[in-house]
């Protein structure tokens, strides 16, 4: 019972632990997704700001171009714009006659032709002499066909925007062009790559995002550790922004919360187990006490019933003796002999109950020889009852470990019951067998049999089927106690009118060398 309760409590603990672990796993996944979503939102916002800034600059240039109505004075006035709009440098008027050394630095000849043809063109981002990021842009000049207004957009502000993005302690943003070249880096360790143009771990992913393909929300970043990442894409120019946060940092609050939660859960688990164990022990103690009282009651009932019966016989025998009639003497003698034998057996049953089973005193036992031995021991009793005992040993002797005295008491008890249950002239058999790792000793009688409804409780104390007055019902419970203490089990099969078979099942041991 105690073991079952402990198993129950432990199972509850394991269940709680499993639920806790699942909760931790789910919380972790949820925290990751939540962080990734937040990073993606920040990346989108950054991309949106960059797009808006570029769009604003180009819009300003278009507005300027719209004001150009003629070549005269236009160049001088446009040049002055750089003073009022610092983000527009080198504002020039592009005409078919513009000398080569005054063309926008980074526009390809084809782009210049396209600009003069009325198309808006832009160079890739580059770094000027003072290392500020820039981009050359030309837009068609409003009223003057075949001319364009060009400017060098100062993109320092974009660099600032990207560098200013801070996520937690060390989260940052990176901006890439369509080819995956790093344009701006919030991570100080990566800024050198902005100038050198050397690709970083995120470069190929940025190219993929620029092409409209998805990028992983987690990666081993260029800063040398695993990061959570949120990606966003600009359509014009086809740049990519990624916002990253080291995983250890992004999940730190969740991890701390989980550690706290786990600590509380583990503490709760231990408290539950401790309380459960203590409560179980109390319940078991109560049950044990109640059971002890119930057993005592049953013993008292059995003893009072059986001793009462014996007392009644002795009283009537005493009454016969008081009559001083010599004719009663044989009867008085038989009564006294019978009652003495009964009381002797009664005392022997209780003596068996008081003997503890000690596994350290077990010795190897040949079950075939054991069966022959108890068969011989029971012969006088059987002869008196007119019953014949047959021993059927196993083909190969099974060996068991046990307390020979107690096992004999158990087997003789079964044999004695079988003899007493058998009518004269019939056979009682002792059969030994082995199957796999268990050996069985069966005692079969041809008595009246036992009703099926009584079988389940036949090994309980004070449940004797005989109730002849000579049995207190402690025999079979004692058999079971002894066999179970040997690591074995007992069994019974019975059919009314055909007899019963009681079995002692024991674990087989290797034959001693």
């Amino acid at each position: 019972m105690a073991r079952k309760l402990l198993v129950l409590v432990a199972s509850s603990g394991i269940l709680i632990a499993l639920v806790g672990l699942s909760a931790i796993f789910l919380l972790r996944r949820s925290a990751e997704r939540s962080s990734q979503a937040a990073l993606a939102v920040i990346a989108e916002q950054a991309a949106s700001r960059i797009g808006a800034y570029l769009s604003h600059q180009r819009e300003m240039l278009r507005a300027l171009a719209g004001l150009v109505t003629g070549i005269t004075e236009a160049e001088r006035r446009l040049a002055q714009v750089a003073l009022d709009a610092p983000s527009l440098g080198h504002v020039t008027l592009l005409t078919p006659r513009t000398p080569a050394d005054r063309l926008p630095q980074r526009l390809a000849p084809a782009d210049v032709v396209a600009a003069l043809a009325g198309r808006e063109v832009a160079s890739a981002l580059y770094f000027r002499e003072d290392l500020t990021p820039a981009m050359d842009v030309c837009v068609p000049a409003g009223a003057t066909a075949g001319t364009a207004v060009c400017a060098t957009l100062d993109l320092l502000e974009l660099q600032r925007q990207v560098q200013r993005i801070r996520i937690g302690e060390s989260g940052f943003a990176l901006a890439f062009d369509a080819e995956g070249r790093l344009l701006a880096a919030g991570a100080p360790a990566l800024r050198a790559n902005v100038l050198t143009g050397e690709p970083i771990a995120e470069s190929p992913l940025a190219s993929r995002v620029a092409r409209g393909e998805p990028a992983p929300p987690q990666l081993h970043g260029a800063i040398g550790e695993d990061v959570l990442a949120g990606w966003a894409r600009l359509s014009d120019p086809r740049w990519t922004v990624v916002v990253e946060e080291p995983k250890r940092e992004a999940l730190a609050p969740m991890r701390n919360a989980l550690i706290g939660l786990s600590a509380v859960a583990v503490a709760a688990l231990f408290v539950t187990l401790a309380l459960g164990a203590a409560q179980s022990r109390r319940v078991l103690d109560t049950l044990e006490t109640e059971e002890r009282w119930r057993t005592a009651g049953r013993i008292a009932t059995g003893i009072s019933h059986d001793l009462g019966h014996r007392l009644a016989i002795l009283q009537s025998t005493a009454a016969l003796a008081e009559a001083n009639d010599p004719a009663y003497l044989p009867l008085i003698r038989d009564n006294l002999r019978a009652e003495t034998a009964t009381l002797k057996k009664f005392v022997a049953d209780f003596a068996d109950l008081s003997r503890e089973v000690s596994p350290d005193q077990f010795l190897p036992l040949d079950l075939n020889a054991f069966a022959h031995s108890i068969g011989r021991t029971a012969v006088p009793h059987a002869e008196k009852a007119g019953v014949h005992i047959t021993v059927m040993p196993a083909a190969e002797a099974p060996w068991v470990n046990g307390d020979r005295y107690l096992l004999e008491r158990a087997a003789l008890n079964l044999l004695s019951n079988a003899i007493e249950a058998s009518p004269p002239g019939v056979q009682v058999s002792i059969e030994v067998s082995q199957r796999d790792t268990v050996a069985t000793l069966k005692v079969t009688d041809r008595g009246p049999g036992i009703a099926q409804e009584r079988l389940p409780r036949i090994f309980d104390a004070f449940k004797s089927t005989k109730r002849t007055g000579a049995h207190v019902g402690m025999g079979l419970p004692n058999v079971r106690r002894i066999v179970v203490a040997h690591g074995g089990d007992t069994a019974v099969e019975s059919e009314l009118g055909r007899g019963s078979t009681f079995s002692i099942v024991l674990p087989v041991q290797p034959r001693p060398a």
Partner: protein, 255 residues
């Protein structure tokens, strides 16, 4: 830098093929000191705890040289007095370039023609200053002409220009005055003034500068600070008065 007993044991001067390389190498941790020529370039170093930015009094000014062959002493003085250096400095550099304090003439007599302003094309700050000067001169301000560095030096030597944007040495005063001596190798525009030469020979820097103000070869606009980025382990980095590295023996490295 090799730390030894708190002082610098050895200085390696590294040269790079492009202006980007020293920045990249400093950002990558391969160099410990970088001279920065434009405040915008400091943007790269924002938020990098490994490096610190140090500032010092500027030694070179932003100035407008006035062609001695084309402009008389009176015209040069008028131009110098006409330029609103404070607003030009603010317009071009914000607060990064303290303006010179000069007495302004509200009705200067400037040439009737528009003065052409020459600047070499690789100095974006000078280019913007040229635009600001042109605007400040109003109708007297002519076109801004971008030339190569070599052309700019050739023009300076020939004195065949109206206005040319330069960065002459102005600090400390003794060195600044010596630049304008007739025989000074740093006298890029061939300025020659016997009174200045006499004052310099007598060691009277103040009088030499006064003479320069009265017969100005250039109009000073402002003096940008000298900037450098230094490894944060250096405890007391200071830029030297004459050269960036003069104070190196006093620098200490945190152990």
């Amino acid at each position: 830098m090799v730390p030894g007993l708190g002082k610098i044991d050895e200085v390696l001067l590294l040269g790079f093929p492009t202006p980007r390389d020293p920045f990249a190498r400093t950002l990558a941790g391969d160099a410990d000191l970088l001279i920065v020529t434009d405040p915008k370039q400091l943007e790269f170093f924002q938020g990098i705890s490994r490096l610190r930015i140090i500032r010092a009094h500027g030694a070179n000014a932003i100035a407008v040289a006035m062609g001695l062959n084309r402009l008389s002493r009176a015209t040069r003085s008028a131009i110098a007095a006409a330029l609103p250096v404070d607003s030009i400095s603010r317009l071009v550099f914000g607060n990064e370039c303290p303006a010179f304090s000069v007495g302004r003439d509200k009705n200067p007599v400037l040439p009737a023609r528009a003065l052409e302003i020459t600047v070499f094309r690789q100095d974006l700050a000078l280019e913007r200053t040229a635009l600001a000067v042109a605007r400040a001169l109003g109708r007297h301000g002519g076109d801004v002409r971008l030339v190569s560095v070599a052309d700019a030096f050739r023009l300076a030597k020939s004195q065949d220009f109206d206005l040319l944007l330069l960065r002459p040495l102005v600090w400390p005063a003794s060195s600044a005055a010596l630049v304008w001596a007739s025989d000074s190798p740093y006298n890029q525009i061939g300025y020659s003034n016997p009174k200045v030469d006499a004052a310099l020979r007598g060691g009277d820097w103040a009088r030499a500068l006064q003479e320069l103000r009265e017969d100005p070869p250039v109009a000073f606009i402002c003096t940008p600070e000298r900037l450098a980025v230094v490894d944060s382990r250096v405890k007391n980095p200071q830029v030297g008065p004459y050269g960036y590295l003069e104070t190196l023996p006093d620098w200490e490295i945190s152990e």
